[in-house]
Assembly symmetry: C2
Homo-oligomer: 130 residues x 2
């Protein structure tokens, strides 16, 4: 996944996040970080490949932050495009992004409550103030 993107990063994993009425759509997700790979994960994310960052931008993802605490990674980003499924599919099809995920996926495992086949698990928005 993107600097590791949320669920729905492939066509067979449609977004489970409820669309916001107007852009940007805010997306929050969570996944576990395997303790034995924390160092590798940090090193990768201290210098994310420019090609991976460029694909994120092309896929209309902005203001993307990943946080860590207690072995959990929380991702927050804003989606500014108009076809989320297609933009995520484009990301999943990008060769360099796939190379990146081949390095980051082994660092992670889904939370226990994730749905079958789900990687980053969606959070539910319960409050927002601009």
């Amino acid at each position: 996944m993107p600097p590791d993107l949320p669920p729905a990063m492939t066509p067979d994993q449609p977004p489970t996040v409820t669309p916001a009425p107007t852009p940007p759509r805010r997306v929050g997700t969570v996944i576990r970080l395997r303790p034995e790979h924390e160092r590798a994960y940090r090193e990768l994310h201290a210098a994310v490949w420019p090609d991976v960052l460029a694909q994120i931008t092309r896929s209309n993802i902005r203001n993307y932050t990943i946080f860590l605490r207690d072995g959990l990674l929380f991702a927050y980003f804003e989606y500014t495009g108009t076809d989320y499924t297609a933009d995520l599919a484009a990301m999943a099809a990008d060769p360099r992004t796939r190379e990146w995920w081949a390095l980051t996926d082994p660092c992670q495992r889904p939370v226990d409550s994730a749905a079958d086949g789900e990687w980053w698990a969606p959070l539910e928005e319960v409050f927002h103030a601009d």
Copy 2:
């Protein structure tokens, strides 16, 4: 806490989040939601008091979202001011905000790894792309 703000909401709970080099400072925090109070918490946040929202704005907090999953609340916001400690202290001193927290605090409890006296526990940022 704010629509429930992060740690450091009172002068005796100084921010433990590392300041970003330039504004806005992104802040991520986590706390538990007590299952028996989930409904009350959701109802409160579906209609946050205008006075509470106004204080958030006065305290230079923007783009504030709270997410929920698996009994954990994750807050994300951006701080656009220049004196975080003072702005949070002003929030903690606001009478209406204190009334609000008197309703929301009983819905929550700190995560096990929280420091003594810490309410919302800070997340560490490990990646960001604008």
